[in-house]
């Protein structure tokens, strides 16, 4: 029974392949240029410090999609690859930012049609009473179609302690759509590494449908400094040389403290430094030059409480500071 069908399929396949001569060529650099994907990749490289392994994987995915496109151009059909992903890493390691870029990259490579990112959490997917969850989840999925659905802290969807939790229903609908409509949207699940691992263990269906598990490593001190300078440059500020040293000392202390969240902590520290910078200028009075308005001095950073409390008396305060 199976024999003839297979032969038939093979026959038709060889036919469609032979329509285009085997020695026909496509130019790789033309396809690259046409897709404009290099710009986004370049931007990714420029604006995101570190994350070597993540960038490599994104490059690989981009290469696969490009080659897929060239193959299609020559009549070599293959199923589009499943591109659902999981981003794991500590807070502030750039998961959301990369997800945004991912949407743009996949759009340039024509894998998704629109390239928008819909970022949701458990609240947006799971309902409050019986029958509320399915329409809610479907609504979100519909909004995300043609783009990327980013589920932050995805492990909250599954509550082990309560087997009647509606999260399970949301997961089931999600699975169905991830499987049946993978041309229509890409799902990215994100969260802390250890909790995501438990989540995947208790939901093998989800884990097996995710092709790419990307782990976001913590930033090193040098990378954090580079991030700080990038952030400042974006807002047209800059460190004085002494301030840079002070900030390095600040980071060294801050990194040892609890609840250090990488780039997010850097951003918060800079925001507070700006606050002190502004207060210092106001207190000084008189004429202020453009350089003064741009430059964050060491004293703006050294005023931080991290330098005064040698040993943080409680974690809570350390986190606030």
């Amino acid at each position: 029974m199976i024999g003839p069908t297979q032969a038939g399929e093979l026959g038709s396949m060889t036919n469609s392949v032979s329509e285009i001569a085997d020695d026909s060529v496509v130019n790789v650099s033309d396809t690259l240029k046409e897709s404009q994907v290099m710009e986004v990749l370049h931007q990714l490289d420029q604006e995101l410090v570190g994350l070597k392994s993540v960038k490599t994987r994104i490059l690989e995915i981009a290469a696969l999609l490009l080659v897929d496109r060239m193959r299609r151009g020559l009549g070599l059909t293959s199923r589009p690859p499943a591109l659902h992903m999981s981003f794991t890493g500590q807070p502030g390691t750039g998961k959301t930012t990369v997800a945004l870029r991912m949407a743009a990259i996949l759009h340039r490579l024509q894998y998704v049609r629109k390239g928008h990112l819909v970022a949701v959490t458990r609240d947006d997917l799971v309902g409050q009473y019986i029958g509320h969850t399915a329409p809610k989840t479907k609504e979100v999925l519909k909004r995300a179609m043609g783009g990327v659905l980013f589920i932050d802290e995805a492990y909250y969807l599954y509550r082990q302690e309560n087997e009647r939790d509606y999260g399970q229903e949301a997961i089931e609908i999600l699975l169905q759509v991830m499987e049946n409509q993978r041309d229509d949207l890409v799902v990215i699940l994100a969260g802390y590494k250890d909790r995501m691992d438990t989540f995947f263990q208790s939901n093998p269906g989800i884990s097996s449908r995710i092709a790419h598990h990307l782990d976001f490593p913590d930033y090193t001190l040098e990378e954090l400094l580079a991030i700080a300078q990038l952030m400042l440059a974006e807002q047209m500020y800059r460190f004085s040389p002494e301030a840079l040293q002070a900030f390095e000392a600040y980071l060294k202390r801050r990194m040892l403290m609890p609840r250090f969240s990488n780039a997010r902590s850097v951003r918060n520290a800079l925001d507070r430094a700006r606050l002190r910078h502004a207060n210092r200028l106001l207190a000084k009075g008189g004429n202020v030059s453009k350089i003064d308005l741009m430059t964050i001095e060491a004293e703006d950073i050294l005023a931080s409480r991290i330098f005064h409390d040698e040993i943080p008396d409680s974690e809570q305060q350390a986190a606030i500071k």
Binding site: R113, K114, P135, K142, R143, M145, G146, G147, D184, L185
Partner: protein
């Protein structure tokens, strides 16, 4: 020739394929027109209030989402008329910008023309869908 209901846009064309529906819906979405899916088994031309399949879709960007709902509606009501409407709010009008049928029953018997003799040899005409002789839900089958 079997009866073919002509209501809304494209209704004199052969039924749209899913690819064609996708493109038309995407056109609507690209113009920022929210989409609504409706169904009925009472195809009288003056029956303007078809039943709504869910709420209008406001935040959808890609037609795949609308097609998903159309297919869900087809699953639930395979023998009903299903149409897609799109509303252009920029005009401030209380009517939709486009409406077209995306699903038809296979065997609609069509309409009867009723004639009523009125005063002074005046003739009044009416349309009557044969299907509506049966109760709701039993009108169209395989």
């Amino acid at each position: 020739m079997a009866f073919h209901l002509t209501q809304g846009t494209f209704s004199f064309l052969p039924p749209l394929t899913d690819d064609e529906i996708y493109k038309q819906v995407q056109y609507c979405l690209d113009h920022d027109w929210p989409i609504n899916v409706e169904f009925t088994d009472d195809p009288h031309p003056r029956n303007s209030y078809w039943e709504m399949w869910g709420l209008p879709m406001f935040d959808v960007k890609d037609a795949a989402a609308v097609l998903y709902e159309i297919n869900e509606c087809r699953k639930a009501y395979p023998h009903h008329y299903i149409r897609v409407g799109a509303y252009d709010r920029s005009k401030g009008r209380q009517t939709i910008a486009i409406s077209f049928i995306v699903n038809r029953p296979t065997n609609d018997p069509g309409f009867a023309l009723g004639r009523q003799e009125a005063h002074d040899r005046v003739m009044r005409y009416s349309l009557h869908s044969y299907a509506t002789d049966k109760p709701k839900g039993e009108r169209f089958t395989d």
